[in-house]
């Protein structure tokens, strides 16, 4: 373990260093410069993908026998969760658990392979910042113009630009809040309610709250969330190793940096490849200088990669002064190893295996799910009673939960004791996605079983036969 020390490159002192510093720092506004290039295009692909899903999904209809409904709707008031063809009950919470475990494991896997890739490309915080920045750029211009505008005094043009920007931001933020609420309240109804001005107070609250959060996070907080608030930023270091792909500056090739003419022979001047144009610092949305090495603030957005590549192109140098690479590769240790072998290391394989097994399990479980749930509760009022005809009777409450969207006819049966039979009507009809308590009486001939409690089973079967549930309960015989 000779590579124990990660070298910290000191920030080159700029002017007089401050002698003392407050524990709290005034926010320095960051004006990221716009970039184009391979990774910038990928970032936009992910912006489109995630936002098409987010804004579009609530509007997707789903045909059922009872008529079309929203394909994805989390009806909290009725406690039914509609996911395309599935009707889920709160009792199906285990699926959410599995989903969360899968999400967490995916994050581990991605982090082990490629660091904060999630942050730079799909995290809502960055995605919305990207969209808000785009609006900002369209209204106020790129970095230089924005800095001038902010530095300049008050003018009508400034007021106009700022108002337009905030108007667009707020409009988008409110639409985001509206869409969010649309996952929990049917979005079309919500729309017509909003147009008619009679939205419920909770809906209004959440639209405004979520809208405000979007506006504040993407408009103002931006990188501060990634740097100071995000817990993922704090523990990702534990998932990195030296074979993790990170955005890094090839110091061996770039240093010593310095400006030079395009045709100059920089090697003869004793310079490295970095022309010290500071473009990589200007484009960075978290305001760091990647040339100082890996820093926790870096969200792996690869903006600096794109911009440095364009500089390298201009200078006719080979690309990749800043690139996605691993620490081992940078230190020359992985030189002989191909990328695939560095990626397919045990940690990654273990994550992948667990992830695949979990996903498969979830898929199979969902596909073979019985669209009926039964809860059996012994009646609390009567332990057991003797009824006419010399029979011993126990009463149960069966909660039948129909997880389909058609009316279902169920046949209830009981078994497990000699002479056990249902005294109440064994046929019930339950409406689409309805749950109902049904009182069920079960009898045995008096004296046919010893005093005490006996295990019995209820069976519930749908008339079509595609749902069959067996639930355990007890039958009490008094002394």
């Amino acid at each position: 373990m000779s590579q124990k020390v990660i070298p910290i490159q000191p920030i080159p002192p700029s002017g007089e260093p401050p002698q003392t510093q407050s524990l709290y720092e005034a926010q320095k506004k960051i004006y990221p410069r716009s970039v184009s290039g391979l990774f910038a295009r990928w970032r936009w692909v992910f912006v489109w993908l995630t936002q098409l899903v987010f804004y579009g999904l609530p509007w997707l209809p789903w045909a059922t026998e009872a008529g079309a409904r929203q394909a994805v709707l989390f009806d909290l008031a009725a406690r039914r969760f509609y996911l395309f063809g599935y009707v889920l009950y709160p009792q199906d919470f285990i699926y959410l658990t599995a989903l969360l475990v899968i999400s967490a494991l995916s994050l581990f896997l991605f982090t082990a392979v490629a660091g904060r890739l999630w942050c730079g490309f799909t995290c809502p915080q960055t995605v919305y910042t990207e969209i808000f920045l785009w609006i900002e750029r369209k209204v106020e211009g790129d970095r230089q113009r924005r800095m001038k505008l902010d530095a300049g005094g008050f003018s009508a043009a400034k007021l106009g630009k700022k108002s337009l920007k905030h108007f667009l931001w707020i409009a988008l933020a409110l639409w985001t809040g509206f869409t969010f609420v649309g996952y929990f309240t049917p979005v079309r109804e919500l729309g017509s309610e909003m147009l008619a001005g009679r939205m419920g107070s909770w809906e209004v609250f959440w639209v405004l709250f979520y809208g405000f959060a979007t506006y504040g996070n993407a408009g103002f907080l931006r990188e501060q969330v990634c740097k100071y608030m995000c817990p993922y930023a704090r523990f990702q270091a534990a998932m990195f190793d030296k074979d993790t792909l990170i955005v890094s500056y090839d110091a061996g090739r770039g240093e010593p940096r310095g400006s030079r003419g395009r045709q100059a022979d920089f090697a003869a001047q004793g310079l490295g490849s970095c022309v010290d144009c500071t473009l990589c610092v200007q484009v960075c949305p978290t305001g760091i200088d990647i040339r100082q090495g890996l820093q926790y603030e870096c969200i792996s957005c690869a903006a600096c990669v794109d911009v440095c590549d364009s500089v390298m192109d201009k200078m006719n140098y080979p690309r990749g002064l800043i690139r996605f690479t691993t620490q081992n590769a940078l230190n020359g240790q992985g030189a002989g190893r191909d990328v695939l072998r560095t990626i397919l290391r045990p940690r990654v394989l273990v994550y992948t295996t667990i992830l695949a097994a979990l996903s498969l399990g979830l898929a199979i479980h969902l596909a073979t799910r019985t669209p009926l749930k039964v809860d059996v509760i012994r009646d609390r009022a009567a332990l057991s009673r003797i009824v006419a005809g010399g029979k011993l009777e126990n009463v149960y409450r069966l909660q039948l939960m129909n997880a389909t969207e058609e009316t279902q006819h169920y046949r209830i049966g009981a078994e497990g004791l000699a002479g056990l039979e249902l005294a109440s009507d064994g046929e019930v009809s339950i409406g689409p996605a309805e749950a109902r308590w049904v009182a069920v009486r079960v009898q045995i001939p008096y004296g046919s079983a010893a005093p005490g409690s006996h295990t019995i089973h209820f069976t519930v079967e749908s008339r079509g036969g595609d749902a069959h549930v067996r639930e355990k309960s007890v039958f009490l015989v008094p002394r």
């Binding site: 910290i8 510093q21 407050s22 709290y24 005034a26 100071y228 609390r380 009022a381 308590w437």
Partner: protein, 305 residues
């Protein structure tokens, strides 16, 4: 809280709460004033374990202002809501009044739904599946605790599904029972009947009324003593719904069947009570509930669409 503890604890808890909040403010103020020396390489100069240095990583100042805001918020909150010991807060908020408000709001929201039922006769409502689904839920929540989920009761709790009624089985009578409750009193009658042997004889006579297995000799002897019982149960033992006196000539035995059970009840008497639901349930709910209960033992009229 003051129901269990003295005033001291209220003041004590309130004091701790306020001291905590003020402590937060002081801490913020102190840290905001503090300046740390920073070196050119942006470390704090703090080195330990030979080569670990601490970077200076100041917190954004707006964050400090958020902390200040939360302190202000907590103070305003404590003025408005109960949070400081027994202090009630300016808004006079309580979970009980909140609950009552919610029930009132729900009842108001459901009023139009119930209105369509109250406008119709109980016999008709009992044929309406929607009303019966509501009635079933009302029954499960309010009545099933005593009468059982299937309304068939158990010992001491009347069966509501068998067509035998202590106080009358018309929808109006059922609604009356639900609304005002009922008290069934059977006084101890042993003295009025005679000795313990007479009580036994009466019990056999009672059994004979419903053709249950009995000792016919004792029944014969008990018949003359039944006069004491006839005041309520009628000369023929068929009961009296106006008094809530059970029919003794049928096969329903609310407090148990057989000689011993009857002897017990004649000797010790029994007070049975059904609590009044008025005030807990609205009139409309009682109407639906009465229709539901009536429908359990009657064939409801076909509901008009």
């Amino acid at each position: 809280m003051s129901d269990f503890t003295g005033n001291f604890w209220s003041v004590y808890v309130a004091g701790i709460t306020l001291a905590g909040i003020i402590g937060c403010l002081v801490l913020l103020w102190l840290t905001a004033r503090k300046k740390v020396a920073s070196t050119t390489d942006n470390t704090t100069g703090h080195v330990w374990d030979e080569d670990l240095t601490e970077m200076n990583n100041p917190m954004p100042r707006w964050w400090m202002w958020l902390f200040v805001l939360t302190v202000i918020f907590s103070l305003l909150y404590l003025v408005a809501y109960p949070g400081l010991g027994t202090y009630q807060g300016k808004l006079d908020w309580s979970s009980k009044s909140e609950y009552e408000k919610e029930v009132k709001r729900a009842n108001e929201a459901l009023a139009p739904l119930y209105a369509q039922f109250t406008a119709r006769k109980a016999e008709e409502v009992a044929g309406d599946p929607q009303a019966m689904a509501i009635g079933e839920r009302l029954f499960m929540n309010n009545c099933a605790q005593c009468h059982g989920s299937d309304a068939r009761g158990s010992k001491g709790f009347p069966n509501l599904a068998d067509g035998d009624w202590l106080h009358g089985g018309s929808p109006a009578k059922i609604a009356e029972s639900i609304k005002a409750g009922r008290v069934g009193v059977m006084p101890p009658m042993a003295a009025a009947v005679g000795g313990s042997d007479d009580v036994k004889n009466v019990a056999h006579y009672v059994l004979s009324l419903s053709n249950s297995p009995h000792d016919s000799l004792r029944a014969q002897l008990g018949k003359s003593k039944f006069g004491a019982c006839a005041a309520c149960h009628g000369a023929d033992g068929k009961g009296n719904a106006a008094l809530g006196a059970p029919n003794l000539a049928d096969d329903t035995w609310l407090h148990g069947w057989g000689e011993q059970a009857i002897v017990n009840i004649v000797t010790s008497g029994k007070t049975n009570s059904m609590p009044a639901q008025e005030g807990k349930l609205t009139d409309a709910q009682i109407h639906v509930l009465a229709s539901y209960v009536w429908g359990l033992s009657n064939k409801p009229a076909q509901a008009k669409p």
